[in-house]
Amino acid sequence: MNLTLKIWRQKNAKEAGNLVTYPVKEVSPDMSFLEMFDVLNEQLIQKNEEPIAFDHDCREGICGMCSMYINGRAHGPAQGTTTCQLHMRKFKDGDTIVVEPWRAEAFPVVKDLIVNRSAFDRVISSGGFISVNTGNAKDANNIPIPKDDADNSFAAAACIGCGACVAACKNSSAMLFVSAKVSQLALLPQGRIERESRVLNMVRQMDEEGFGSCTNTGACEAECPKEISVENIARMNREYLMANLKK
């Protein structure tokens, strides 16, 4: 396949960027999207140009590092798929593909397609944990947990923190990410002890980071590579309301 790529190039956080067109030839349909980028970068290096900087690591859809807005969609056209798991057979010969970084005030561009997602870490450190020191815990089976709760908690915990929810949301809202963590812990008995302070702190931090508000469009759920449900957002709203009523 031969393709035309239009890729966002931006030297660093301060300078302005723009879309640059690159033709790529002989792309195999078996390549992953990132392998196609490897091929393009190899060509750029051969021409002594700077390769395109993009985040990636595990390339098996779990680390959450890859983050590309491909043809107007977070992680590209495939459902429940990260960019690294997207394969070129999803595209046709002659296609033009536009690739941009995540766009959000809270995720400033670092270089080319790389953005800074440390806002997520700060949200977690504001309350996305259970305060248990190493060695405190007693036998694991002392806390039986209904299977449904455990399963729902696990489904929320599947979040990989890639930020696709923020990227896809028209308001750059981080509600799906934050609510996934709030839900995971609120569903477990050991997490309920701190449920109120947790949700209050995490929401405050989320707002301080400059994410927008949720308007329930559902774009986050549709683009989430782990298909995390917006039910979690409702749960967080509930937790937040209750916490405010009590505290």
Partner: protein, 659 residues
């Protein structure tokens, strides 16, 4: 005095750790506040150590090269984590976990370390559950277990196919909690490029801020390397793209011995290479082998579609060769058997370097069970297939989906094509019982050290070891060193040792940037990977290893003459990052081959073709090789071998047999 003293406590195996814990010197809380600990890496070992030490009161700085500590590659582990809980009432015990691990490691690990690992394994599960890790549960609300290779009990705890992710996020939440409390300072997108030594002790690191490209000096009373394994020396492996040996290698060059570098684990069930563009390999969980049958056509170069090959023309070679264990032989055995068939010309797929993993017969069997459950009489074959596929989907749905995404083939209809791939490195920095390397004040935890898995790691044991080291071992053992260091004040980073170390790092970066050659870093990495895979991979022999050593030297020379790194040093430069890592791989690769050449026996993942039984099985040589090979770096291409004899007081090495 010998360079190496494993410091295994005296006494009976079962009480070594308890006795050690009650006699190890302690650091009082007010002193802890003045002691700084640097932790490099934020995976299971790094994150758990960082949070545990910070909880104790130490001032911790934690470094990772990713954009967030949550992305460390521990996250990709699928299957589970072992623990001797005996929740299933099936006869498990600390001793059995210890025994299985020593045996699985083909008797090349330390009894004392492994016993301690088995002992603390149960605490890990308690800790993780308390943290909110959503392990799989039964309807009664209690934890569920599954069985894994190399054991006869069910002791593996899991969270669907994402156990590593859940455990890492648990450890990460603990770490972030300490970051919030201000006891851990996190440095993400930072790469450690050297350690700093003052008066023979580790006193800090030089790290590069990957965004600005600036070098930074950081002081620490002790430095913990939790930097994972080095499978990426093979270029293609199941490791993440960024996994590297650099931190460990810099420590090695500063005097830390490297233990058993040639012990690599090759996982039998990975998605095969599809072309030259391939950048990494993806694992299909070991659990699939429970329900799949592995075969190749009986006829060489059979071009027919898998489903068109009749039953009698299929060679179920694992069942044929190992009737007792069949498709469930350990990883090393299954991998070698697949390679043997493909090398003999029976491979399948376009590359001919793959075998089939076929779920048809089990799908039909499940279909029959399901039909009985639903009281369906005389179901047609199509009905059985449909019912069976539903069962298979419930068990392995996410893996099947992943396979389809990557290959574009539907594994419910066609058998999967699989081939072995490098997965884990048992070797690593040599450490004593306290996890300290031969450099005072420098520790190695998790996959970065060599310690607990011997020559082969059992499934679901890597997660256990990483967390054991970080949560339950280092918090005790580090006290033994730091207790005598409480009077040391923080050393200002304008000390000459810091200046000298930074200068050295700067010189290497300049040197790399100034080559201005014609070939990309990947070009050399791929070349190195091919040599390693062909000559130091699943089967090794003297001729190939000798060739490999000289070939690697040549690639190394070419690299330093002809590598091209576009861009500049003082900004985000991914090619420069890769170049530094590949430069270290080019030295490590040689050492791995040297180690493999020296170890003339076959054991675990290390298969020397010269040392096999008449029917092609691995043959150990306990008389001559029952030791840990610990290599001391002299200069590039020159190492000195130290041996740590392995003493087996409790288990008695026997030849493994799976027939």
């Amino acid at each position: 005095m010998s360079k190496i003293n494993s410091k295994i406590p005296e006494g009976v195996l079962e009480t070594k750790w308890t006795k050690y814990k009650s006699s190890v010197p302690l650091v009082n809380p007010s002193n802890k506040r003045n002691i700084e600990v640097i932790i490099v890496g934020s995976g299971l070992a790094g994150a758990s150590a960082a949070s545990s030490l910070a909880e104790l009161g130490y001032k911790v700085k934690c470094f990772c090269f990713q954009d967030s500590p949550r992305r460390a590659h521990s996250i990709a582990a699928q299957g589970g984590i072992n623990a001797a809980k005996n929740y299933q009432n099936d006869g498990d015990s600390t001793y059995r976990l210890f025994y299985d691990t020593v045996k699985g490691g083909d008797y090349r690990s330390r009894e004392g370390n492994v016993y301690r690992l088995a002992e603390v394994s149960a605490n890990i599960i308690d800790q993780c559950v308390a943290q909110g890790v959503p392990f799989a549960r039964e309807y009664g609300g209690y934890l569920s277990n599954r069985s894994f290779g190399g054991t006869q009990v069910q002791r593996t705890f899991y969270a669907a196919g994402q156990t590593g992710q859940q455990l890492l996020l648990g450890a990460y939440s603990g770490l972030e909690r300490q970051v919030g409390l201000g006891t851990v300072k996190m440095y993400s997108r930072h790469e450690m490029l050297d350690i700093v030594m003052i008066d023979g002790k580790t006193r800090g690191i030089i790290a590069r801020d990957l965004i600005t490209g600036k070098l930074e000096r950081h002081f620490g009373h002790a430095v913990l390397l939790c930097t994972g394994g080095y499978s990426n020396v093979f270029y293609l492996s199941t490791n993440a793209m960024g996994c590297n040996v650099t931190a460990a290698w810099k420590a090695h060059r500063r005097g830390a011995l490297f233990g058993n570098p040639c012990f690599t684990q090759i996982h039998p069930t990975c998605i095969p290479v599809s072309g030259d563009h391939q950048s990494k390999l993806t694992l299909m969980s070991e659990s699939l082998r429970n329900d799949g049958r592995i075969w190749v056509p009986k006829k060489k170069d059979d071009a027919r579609k898998a489903t068109d090959i009749p039953e009698e023309e299929r060679d179920y070679y694992l069942e044929r060769r190992y009737p007792a264990f069949g498709n469930l032989v350990p990883r090393d055995v299954a991998s070698r058997a697949a390679k043997e068939r493909c090398d003999a010309g029976y491979g399948v797929g376009t590359s001919k370097m793959a075998v089939y993993l076929d779920f048809t017969s089990n799908t039909l069997r499940y279909g029959q069970v399901e039909a009985n459950k639903r009281n369906l009489h005389n179901p047609t074959a199509a009905d059985l297939k449909k019912l069976g596929q539903e069962v298979v989907k419930e068990k392995y749905g996410n893996l099947f989906e992943m396979y389809e995404k990557i290959t574009g083939e539907n594994p419910y209809e066609l058998p999967m094509r699989i081939y072995p791939a490098v997965h884990y490195t048992m070797g690593g920095l040599w450490v004593d019982y306290e996890l300290m390397t031969t450099v005072p004040g420098l520790y190695a935890l998790g996959e970065a050290n060599f310690s607990d898995h011997g020559a082969n790691r059992l499934g679901a044991s890597a997660l256990m070891q990483g967390l054991a080291d970080g949560y339950f071992v280092i918090p005790y053992t580090i006290g033994s060193y730091l207790a005598s260091d409480i009077s040391t004040k923080a050393i200002p980073t304008d000390h000459e040792a810091f200046v000298e170390a930074e200068k050295k790092v700067q010189e290497q970066l300049d040197k790399l940037m100034n080559v201005k050659g014609t070939k990309s870093v990947d070009h050399f990495h791929k070349k190195l990977g091919k040599v390693m895979w062909d000559k130091c991979g699943m089967g090794r022999n003297e001729k190939h290893l000798t060739e490999a050593i000289s070939e690697i030297k040549t690639i190394r020379e070419e690299f330093w003459k002809d590598v091209r790194i576009p861009g500049i040093q003082n900004e985000l430069n991914t090619e420069l990052e890769k170049a530094g890592r590949v430069a270290d791989f080019l030295e490590l690769g040689e050492l791995m081959c040297k180690d493999a050449l020296m170890r003339k026996e076959s054991c675990g993942g290390h298969f020397r073709e010269e040392s096999q039984t008449p029917d092609g099985e691995a043959k150990r040589d306990d008389d001559n090789f029952s030791y840990v090979a610990a290599w001391e770096f002299k200069e590039a291409g020159n190492w000195e071998l130290h041996k740590e004899e392995l003493v087996f007081d409790v288990v008695h090495p026997t030849q493994r047999s799976y027939k």
